[in-house]
Symmetry: C2
Subunit: 171 residues, 2 copies
DNA sequence: TAACAAGGTTCATTCACCGAACCAACCTGT
DNA sequence: ACAGGTTGGTTCGGTGAATGAACCTTGTTA
């Protein structure tokens, strides 16, 4: 493929990783899945992304085993996209890159991340200062001081919640 | 900017991080800089990337304070690109993503990473199993069992070496 | 019967990536 | 003195991906 998504000549794992999650929007989709977003229209709402691009990215992630598409309701058919174990393994790079990006901004963070069992805020490497490494299911997200989006999906995120816990929009 | 490199509506640091290092090839450039590549033509050799794209990416990284362009020789003028502290802070995500990409391949790893002071191989999160977290300068790269590129720059990498130590091509 | 919601597909336009060619300054060999 | 090589780029035409708007389908609710 001349132009596009692969990194044919690369000898290390990074080339492969970028083929799977290196395209525009993809890592933001994975991050929002970690924050509890599961439905097509909720990703749309949070990301301001063209529908065609979102559909293509989700399909790509499903093809590579990072997400799973589940039909959770037969009539009318409705789907949700959920991270697989392979996808959940991306938690640390997602967390660290988010922190890195936050530090090169003048704004304050919209969310902070804590070890759910002891409440301590995670350090720059994603570990708990008291207890060491923390699996993604044990991470609690809390609203931070920084500016937040105001769409319904983002508002549903603005209370303390475990990562991966599905978002339920208020009616 | 309608199309392109920014993620205007995102409220968290990830959007910012992707503006800086999320474009095609960028994270591979940063990774190779960590491996000791410093010169324009050496990046070209390792990456099989169009010159125009490499020039643009390097300029972008310099503009955002991830790399520094240094004139190290006056006549003929020669330049090298070196990671700043901000750039070196990307070590953990680069390492973890590389490992993740490696695990979803059937090939073996071309390189392994060790704590230079005790020799232990780093774990999946980039820490030393004996000593805990390891700064990038204390990481030693060793040739692994997997397939490697055969260009001169890649060959110069195929011996145990500290990260960030500049590559010298054999004549 | 109309309107609405979810989860998409289609399409024209715009823009970024690609690879090949070109360039300029300097050095080295003959 | 001149050819050819090295470094570090820039220019350019062609191609393919991203964008946003419009449209579609199935089913539900008013």
């Amino acid at each position: 493929m001349a132009l596009g998504r692969d990194y044919h000549g690369q000898d290390c794992g990074m080339g492969r990783a970028l083929e799977v999650v290196g395209e525009r929007w993809t890592l933001l989709i994975v991050q929002n899945a970690m924050f509890g977003v599961r439905r097509f229209n909720d990703f749309l709402t949070r990301l301001d992304i063209p529908k065609a691009v979102l559909a293509e990215r989700l399909k790509h992630l499903v093809d590579y085993g990072v997400m799973e598409k589940r039909n959770y309701q037969g009539s009318p058919p409705r789907y949700e996209y959920e991270l697989t174990e392979r996808g959940r393994e991306l938690w640390l790079p997602v967390y660290i890159l988010t922190g890195w990006g936050q530090r090169i901004t003048d704004k304050e963070a919209p969310r902070t991340f804590h070890h759910a069992e002891c409440g301590a805020q995670l350090d720059e490497a994603g570990a708990c200062p008291n207890c060491g490494s923390v699996p993604i299911e044990k991470v609690e997200m809390r609203p931070g001081p920084g500016p937040k989006r105001t769409d319904p999906v983002s508002r549903a995120m603005n209370r303390p919640r475990r990562l991966l816990e599905p978002i339920v929009r208020e009616q």
